[in-house]
């Protein structure tokens, strides 16, 4: 029987790994949950690619400002110390390697750190990529937040992605509901296995050869 932690617990786990002073972009969807668990006593500066550094939490009811939104087009606030800028400057921050961390969702991550998260490649599907490819190649650390398995039980960690790629060799770490994996030159390494999960049980679930991360 494998252990699965909740999405909130996973978000909390990721939040704990982000140091004070980090510049962080949280991707649309589950990664935005991470913001809820960043310690209130630490200053961590959130970037949203539509032109804001120093993004704060959602506004109170009645204080929604249609001019102040995040990349997911949700209402947000700006903290003291924030700054606005246009799209080219904003993506310059990402593409120029100035963000410390971004957290993204994934359909698949390969042993070499390839990320597939923008298209299932299904025939007839309407493609849409947004800023995913820029985030994937831009941040110093690209963390993926995802369930380890698809709804039909297939591993999202794979030898090679079968879905269309978002970025090549860009992922540095994968936070899943079962365990945390580092992407190493030798493939995935188990950084931390949750609950009753073991390297062996994770190997069985993923079908991949896994190693404990160095120093863990």
């Amino acid at each position: 029987m494998s252990t699965r932690i909740s999405r909130d617990d996973l978000a909390r786990r990721i939040a704990a790994d982000i140091p004070e002073g980090a510049y962080v972009n949280l991707g649309i969807g589950a990664p935005t949950l991470v913001a809820n668990f960043l310690p209130a006593d630490l200053e961590i500066i959130l970037h949203t690619e539509n032109g804001l550094l120093g993004m704060g939490p959602a506004p109170e009811a009645g204080a929604v400002d249609p001019d102040l939104i995040n990349a997911g087009k949700q209402a947000v606030t700006a903290l003291p110390g924030a700054a606005y800028f246009h799209h080219a400057d904003s993506f310059g921050m990402m593409r120029g390697g100035h963000l410390d961390v971004c957290v993204l969702g994934a359909f698949q991550v390969s042993e070499t750190g390839d990320l597939a998260n923008w298209s299932t490649g299904a025939p007839g599907a309407i493609p849409a990529v947004g800023g995913a490819m820029d985030l994937a190649i831009g941040a110093k650390d690209v963390y993926v937040m995802t369930d380890l398995l698809t709804k039909t039980g297939e591993s999202k960690l794979v030898e090679a992605c079968t879905y269309p790629l978002t970025g090549v060799g860009c992922v540095t770490r994968v936070y899943t509901d079962h365990a945390i994996f580092d992407v190493t030159p030798d493939g995935f390494a188990v950084r931390e296995a949750f609950g009753e999960n073991t390297v062996a049980s994770l190997q069985e679930l993923t079908g991949l050869r896994l190693a404990p991360a160095e120093g863990h």
């Binding site: 032109g51 929604v64 001019d67 939104i69 080219a88 493609p127 849409a128």
Partner: protein
């Protein structure tokens, strides 16, 4: 005296020809030049190429322009949304051409057009479907893909305030694509909440200098801003609560 202000949004868009490439600012509701888009729909220009981050939402604005089949091609990063049914239908029927561009490449290609750059090697999209057929090059140990500028005949953008020289300031994340689109179009048309007297915008804080702006049209303050101050009381679409 230089006076770039025009009396109405209808006047502002009157001479946009059929076949024009039109950039439209905005990211979601923020910075969307709602009144200018409506004026463009009323004006009737067709066979347009539109550059926007998205491909329209619901049945209004850009989606309404699409629904009238005025758009031949759209260049954007994220056409598929929960309420992009107009675009979705046209695309599935093969009635609209789509050039899908990663958002950072979209922004940088627009900026390149405005800054006179012939082309640039981008780090984004390397090794993906969206770089297929494009020239790649290894520089300093990393692979880049060659991307070309996106120019336009017209840019329609939305700013907070403007003066008669065309200087503009924006509000919060409504800034988004406006400043770069202003540089990349032969003719830039800005709708503003308010036209203010020349000299009342601090030269240190002008975001778009008037050199990039050809027409300025006042559309009045939005419901959530009164006398320049945020007053709230609306939903994300700007509708009163």
């Amino acid at each position: 005296m230089i006076d770039k202000t025009v009396a109405s949004v209808a006047d502002a868009v009157a001479d946009i020809p059929d076949g024009a490439t039109v950039m439209i600012g905005g990211f979601g509701r923020a910075g969307q030049p709602v009144e200018l888009i409506d004026a463009l729909i009323a004006q009737g220009a067709t066979d347009l190429t539109i550059v926007n981050n998205n491909a329209g939402n619901g049945d209004v604005g850009l989606a309404a322009l699409l629904a009238k089949r005025r758009v031949r091609k759209i260049i954007c990063s994220f056409p598929r949304q929960s309420d992009s049914w107009v675009f979705d239908g046209l695309y599935r029927d093969g009635d609209i051409e789509l050039e899908l561009v990663p958002q950072g490449n979209l922004a940088e290609r627009i900026r390149a057009a405005g800054a006179g750059i012939g082309a640039f090697f981008s780090p984004t999209g390397v090794g993906t479907q969206l770089a297929e057929g494009k020239e790649a090059r290894d520089i300093d140990g990393r692979t880049f893909v060659l991307e070309y500028p996106i120019k336009a005949d017209v840019a329609l953008i939305s700013a907070l305030k403007g003066d008669r020289w065309g200087n503009l300031v924006f509000r919060e994340t409504a800034r988004n694509f406006g400043p770069i689109m202003a540089t990349a179009a032969t003719r830039t048309i800005a709708q503003v909440d308010q036209v203010v007297p020349l000299g009342s915008l601090d030269p240190e804080t002008v975001v778009t200098p008037g050199i990039f702006v050809d027409r300025v049209v006042a559309v009045g303050e939005r419901p959530w801003v009164k006398d320049g101050a945020f007053v709230g009381g609306v939903d994300l679409e700007g509708r009163p609560l």
